[in-house]
Amino acid sequence: MTLLIILFCLILIIVVAVQIGRLTELANKIRGEEAAQFESNRWNGALSLVFLVVFLGGTIISSGYYGKYMLGFGPWVSASEHGGALDSMFKWTLFFTGVVFVLTHIALFWFAWKYRGRKGHKARFLPHNDNLEIIWTAVPAIVMTFLVIKGLDAWNDVMADVQPDEEYIEMEATGYQWGWMLRYPGPDGKLGARDYTLINSGNNPLGQDWTDVKNLDDFHPTEVVLPVGKKVRVRITSRDVLHNFYLPHFRVKMDAVPGMPTYFTFTPKYTTEEYRQLLGVKDNMGNPKYPEWYEIDSEDPDGRKKFQTFNFELACAELCGRGHYSMRKIVRIVSEEEFQRWADEQQSWYLLSVRNTDDDPYKGQMLTIDVEETDGGDGESDEQQTENADENPAD
């Protein structure tokens, strides 16, 4: 029944439209074509001006209003060291394109009004002006050059890999349909080797090669935890199709490619707690600058406000099938001490799931892994780690 009503309404609309069309054509015939055209030019010229005002007003005002949601604006400073440069590039580009956007639109719609066809008016024969062409070729070229130089400077900086003697924490994120598996290197600071043919969904989801002792202390946390102020080099890969490791607040993004590890290096600038304070900041009068974040978080059992329960998140940013939109992990940035405590508490995957099972290459053997505590990546040689000793396995 509803369908019939809808159908009837549609047909009615069609008939009305056709009639309006025919009526206006008739009216124009009566009025005289030329007069009708000039009248129409006045209306459409005027509408052009109205549109100009509404359009520019709407875009500028709405961008002001939505500023507080856009990363790089409002409270959303970059949570990483490199992000500021990227946000700055965005703002420079916004400045130049904003100027062009406003000026060209004013010219376009103002000319539409000013040069509308009317009685007694004639067009001017202005076929070209080479000087103008040179100017409006050169000026955009100069602006583009500036943006290119600034942009590539930032790009090459951000994308540069770590130096040989640099200290950093390495962690690994493996995308799969549909989630992320995280792997940290453990006390030896090094991730062990992987072989995809070793993967089994039971106790070796990443295909770690347990004969490589660097794997024995690697652990698989359920959330990304990192210390503030320390450089992190994320090793990004995929088990099946393309995914993308995306940390929006940190301005981090890189495709996860099966069979080809990619990397992104960044340094967290705020702890989660510090960032929460940024969201909950108050202005000079003592009022919340971003009131939305003072609403109660309905999902929090303790009834805390939203800024107190805010968390950084990891998302996927490359279409990977049905569950692409649901690949979430929490990211927590903590102090160095807390990170160390957390890391020390983590049990290695090997010990948790593989040790003394049939998949354990050292089954039945005792193990010592002599590991010097490292900060990661300082080139400790693997030969110093020994196997087959008589004492208890290290933790």
């Binding site: 025919r22 709407g58 965005f90």
Partner: protein, 623 residues
């Protein structure tokens, strides 16, 4: 609110005919073709027609059909995004198994099909509507008419070009009804998702049909392109030097060259994916564990596919926009009664854009894992391509300056095109700078950018062309009131749909998400998404009005009473009102001037086939 004011013609029809008779080129066409069996029955006239004007209409109407299909798809997925809690069970009769209805009777759209809809929407609109429907229609209609040729160089290949397009459409249509669903890996079809049937339902039979359809489609494009190039190079009438050609022809000509050089690479990419799928090769596959199994394929690279795909993919977007630009140059000039400003600069811009379009493709791949060093070059060339694009915008605005503008649906869409191209083109400058792209890649900022340039600007160019050349195609006018309504509502509505997406993108919201509920970071935009969806519905409704206007006017539109209602200088308006096979009844007009002599002296306009006056010969020519 009128319309179709016919401009006072400087010459009477009889005088025009006398000029063409005296100076025209006599190829004895009608003697040779008298009594031939060309177009002698219904099938050869309307179905397997070899007449370029009929083929143009076939492309147009098929393109319009696919436009409606693609737009309807977008309404379904916009419903999901704007109103995710709403009951979609009412769609079950149409979408069948892809709507799951729970015990409470609430229907939800399956995520698999959501991605299928998004994929099909992109594929259909980019290829079937904006490539075939735009180039196919206007290149076919205008090339012979504007250069002074009887038909295309090979009417037979031309006919095949349409029917391969039709066939590719049929195959794509079938794929919508497969049990495992149509292809769902995005119109970009990146492997391994597209290369592994086990990765997704849509990567099963749907992907196979998708590839077959597109291979036929590319055949259609190549056949058309060869024809357009050959015709433009070899069949221009006497006096029609390249620098006397209207900008439309330059645009269609260069577009065809780009297409010929870039589409075959797409075919190679698709064939290699098919080999990976069915023959056990590893062009794009390496070290994959999926569906509980470690696959034997090693040594390939998904990134290779992306290079091959985008080597077409980037020129493709210029294949879409250049014809629209050519049309807008023409429409703005005719209705402003002024030459298009900077004709030579406009031609050089087209050439520059065409050349540069081949060396920017990897700006789609900044975050794909390619060596960042390579990206430097692609940033440089991408931002360079902004320069000729800007030059064109300034020249269009200068075309309006000092004009005597006649507002009708065609010129309004032309002006709207410029606004949309400014808005959408400027955001390209953000995305082309790799540093900014780190954050913007695969977010709604990209979606906003390409929709405004392709989904709106290119469409506006197409609409301008349809309203402007409808009289040439059908001997009648489309209704002007409905046309203006169509324009103003679509202009405002399209901005309402796509402008907010910039904010979503900068806020970090990724594209190709079925739902935003999983992430706190992306869950703040319920109202905005509702707004976008409602605006999309309104815009769609107004397109329906356009379609009604189009078909009604074919049979009942206001009739064309004079040959050249717009007072244009170009040759297509010198044929009889309903041009038959061969376009001109007698000789083909010869050409003495460029296409833009509007208001240069006391004459309001001077058609191209009018010889130079004594004064003009003394002045030397002005353009």
């Amino acid at each position: 609110m009128a319309s179709t004011t016919t401009v006072e013609q400087p010459l009477k029809t009889r005088e025009e005919d006398l000029l063409i008779e005296e100076y025209g080129y006599d190829d004895h066409f009608h003697e040779h073709h008298h009594g031939d069996k060309y177009q002698s029955n219904f099938v050869t006239t309307y179905i397997f027609s070899q007449d370029h004007k009929t083929i143009a209409k076939q492309f147009l109407i098929t393109g319009m059909f696919w436009g409606i299909v693609g737009a309807l798809m977008s309404l379904v997925f916009r419903l999901q995004l704007g109103f995710p809690e709403e009951n979609m069970a009412w769609l079950k009769p149409v979408l069948g198994q892809w709507i799951t209805v729970n015990e409470a009777g609430i229907g939800t759209l399956s995520p698999d099909f959501y991605y299928a809809l998004v994929t099909m929407h992109g594929t259909i609109l980019v290829f079937f509507v904006l490539t075939a429907g735009l180039s196919g229609t206007f290149s076919n209609l205008l090339i012979p008419l504007q250069i002074g040729a009887r038909d295309m160089a090979s009417p037979f290949l031309n006919m095949l070009s349409y029917w391969f397009f039709f066939l590719s459409g049929v195959i794509m249509f079938f794929s919508l009804f497969l049990n495992t669903g149509p292809f769902s890996g995005g119109w970009t079809a990146y492997p391994p998702l597209s290369g592994l049937p086990q990765a997704s339902l849509g990567s099963q039979a749907g992907m196979t049909l998708w590839v077959v359809s597109l291979v036929f489609f590319v055949v259609s494009v190549l056949l058309g392109g060869i024809n357009y190039i050959t015709t433009v190079l070899n069949m221009r009438t006497k006096g029609m030097g390249m620098w006397n050609m209207p900008l439309t022809i330059w645009a269609f000509f260069i577009t065809a060259i780009i297409g010929l050089l870039s589409f075959p690479v797409l075919v190679s990419a698709l064939l290699l994916v098919m080999f990976d799928r069915g023959l056990g090769t590893s062009f794009f596959l390496n070290e994959i564990f999926i569906a509980g199994e470690a696959l034997p394929n090693v040594g390939g690279s998904p990134i290779l596919y992306q290079h091959l795909f985008w080597f077409l993919g980037h020129p493709e977007v210029y294949i879409i926009i250049l014809p629209a630009m050519g049309i807008v140059s023409e429409v703005l000039s005719v209705h402003s009664r002024k030459p298009v400003f900077g004709y030579k600069a406009m031609v050089f811009s087209i050439l520059a854009i065409a050349f540069l379009s081949f060396i920017v493709w990897a700006h789609h791949m900044f975050m794909s894992g390619v060596n960042p060093f390579i990206s430097n070059f692609f940033v440089v060339f991408t931002l360079i391509i902004a320069v000729p694009s800007a030059v064109k915008v300034f020249n269009w605005i200068a075309t309006l300056y000092g004009g005597n503008i006649r507002f009708n649906a065609a010129s309004l869409f032309g002006i709207g095109f410029v606004s949309m191209f400014i808005s959408g083109g400027l955001t390209g400058i953000f995305l082309g700078n790799s540093a900014i792209d780190i954050q913007m890649h695969d977010t709604y900022f990209v979606v906003a950018h390409f929709h405004i340039v392709m989904g709106v600007a290119a469409f506006f160019g197409m609409f301008a062309g349809i309203y402007h050349w409808f009289p040439k195609m059908f001997g009648r006018f489309m209704n002007e009131t409905l046309g203006k309504l169509h324009f103003w509502i679509t202009l405002v509505g399209a901005y309402a749909v796509f402008w907010p997406m910039h904010y979503l993108g900068v806020a970090g919201v990724p594209r190709r998400y079925y739902s935003f509920d999983t992430f706190n970071a992306f869950a703040h935009f319920d109202t905005m998404n509702k707004f976008i969806t409602v605006a999309a519905i309104v815009v769609f409704a107004v397109q329906v009005l356009f379609v009604i206007n189009f078909f009604y006017s074919i049979w009942k539109g206001r009739q064309m009473k004079v040959r050249n209602p717009w007072g244009a200088t170009t040759l297509e308006w010198s044929t009889p009102i309903r041009p038959g096979h061969g376009n001109w009844d007698g000789k083909i007009p010869s050409v003495f001037r460029w296409a833009y002599d509007y208001n240069k002296d006391e004459r309001e306009f001077v058609p191209q086939y009018v010889p130079l006056s004594e004064e003009e010969k003394l002045q030397g020519h002005t353009h």
